[in-house]
Symmetry: C2
Subunit: 203 residues, 2 copies
């Protein structure tokens, strides 16, 4: 053993490596969108070589599908743990749970971007399925009315847009921008601002 460090990634069970790559891929896909991301960037972020990423997931599209499915599962998981407690607080708690996912890199952007990929023959069905599953959860498990569900989902989409636009970085620079953020995160603007990247940070 010489002074130079190992150049190869430390051995790991494939299942763990998969999860590690999924986490990295979520961040990169979230920052640069599906088409804008190269498998090499994902590999680099995960600390492995590009061909290994391809081999573990078969294809870039399949990797992205795994990322989306994981993200939607994560969302529903968060919503589930926000359910218990007084019904009248449910909406606020679930909204906070969604905003809390901002702390996990790429989670919200991946969800947001997936809603633009309905036209892709492979990814479209998965994206539609994920969105529908969230709607169903909010409606059936959380027991929202149809109108409450629509408003809740619409708020989520607005948050996605605000995040994607990197509006948080512009908080305070212009009246309308500040107002958008105050309207989106009624009682959590400052906490959210800590999570969020500046305008041209790669995130």
């Amino acid at each position: 053993m010489s002074v130079d460090e190992v150049q190869t990634a430390p051995r790991m069970k494939a299942a763990d490596r998969r999860e590690l790559i999924l986490e990295a891929a979520t961040a990169v896909f979230g920052a640069k969108s599906y088409v804008g991301t190269t498998t090499d960037e994902v590999a680099h972020a995960a600390g492995v070589s590009q061909p290994y990423v391809v081999r573990l997931f078969g294809t870039k599209a399949k990797l992205y599908i795994a990322v989306i499915e994981r993200a939607y599962a994560r969302i529903i998981g968060e919503f589930e743990s926000a359910l218990p407690g007084p019904v009248e607080e449910r909406r606020r708690r679930m909204g906070a749970a969604y905003a809390g996912l901002l702390a996990e890199r790429g989670m919200l952007p991946v969800i947001a971007n997936s809603t633009a990929l309905g036209g892709d023959p492979e990814i479209g069905p998965v994206a539609r399925g994920g969105f529908a599953s969230v709607w169903r959860f909010v409606r059936d498990e959380a027991g929202f009315t149809e109108e409450e569900t629509r408003d809740f989902m619409a708020s989520g989409m607005l948050i996605n847009a605000v995040v994607g636009l990197r509006l948080v970085g512009a908080y305070g620079t212009e009246a309308s921008v500040t107002e958008v953020l105050d309207a989106c995160f009624p009682d959590a603007v400052n906490r959210v601002r800590e999570f969020m990247p500046a305008a041209d940070e790669p995130w």
Copy 2:
């Protein structure tokens, strides 16, 4: 003059050609996103050669920026013409105006996708500016309250998601999907369904 037709595009003033390309580019960018679209596809859709598209706009990014700016201007134009009339009908008329833009290929998807590009150093500022200008218009010109503005914009983002997901093609196939659409287009589901592409149509 022999039997074969002209292979070259008919001569046109550069300004007109620009507008024609912008219209085609809106459709293509809307269908395949910014990174997913090639300048060659835009050129084909516009009936000109690929180098000419590049020469007229300088760069793919600049072309896309022109597309975004045109789309936001179009939206605000539609909202303006929906303003006159009884105040209590304003919200419904403006909502209908937005849904009506579905008839123009790529218009809504381009807007939706632009909200994901805030991180791009060139495109980000334009996307933020467009979004903020719409918010300002709704708030100041249309005179909505802050809460009304938030709800209105959120509804728009939900519509964007539903369009991007190609959920309309799945209307009637599943209870939750049908409900999503009914909730998004309270009194216009059938009219909207005519506009919208099927799940894996290129649009």
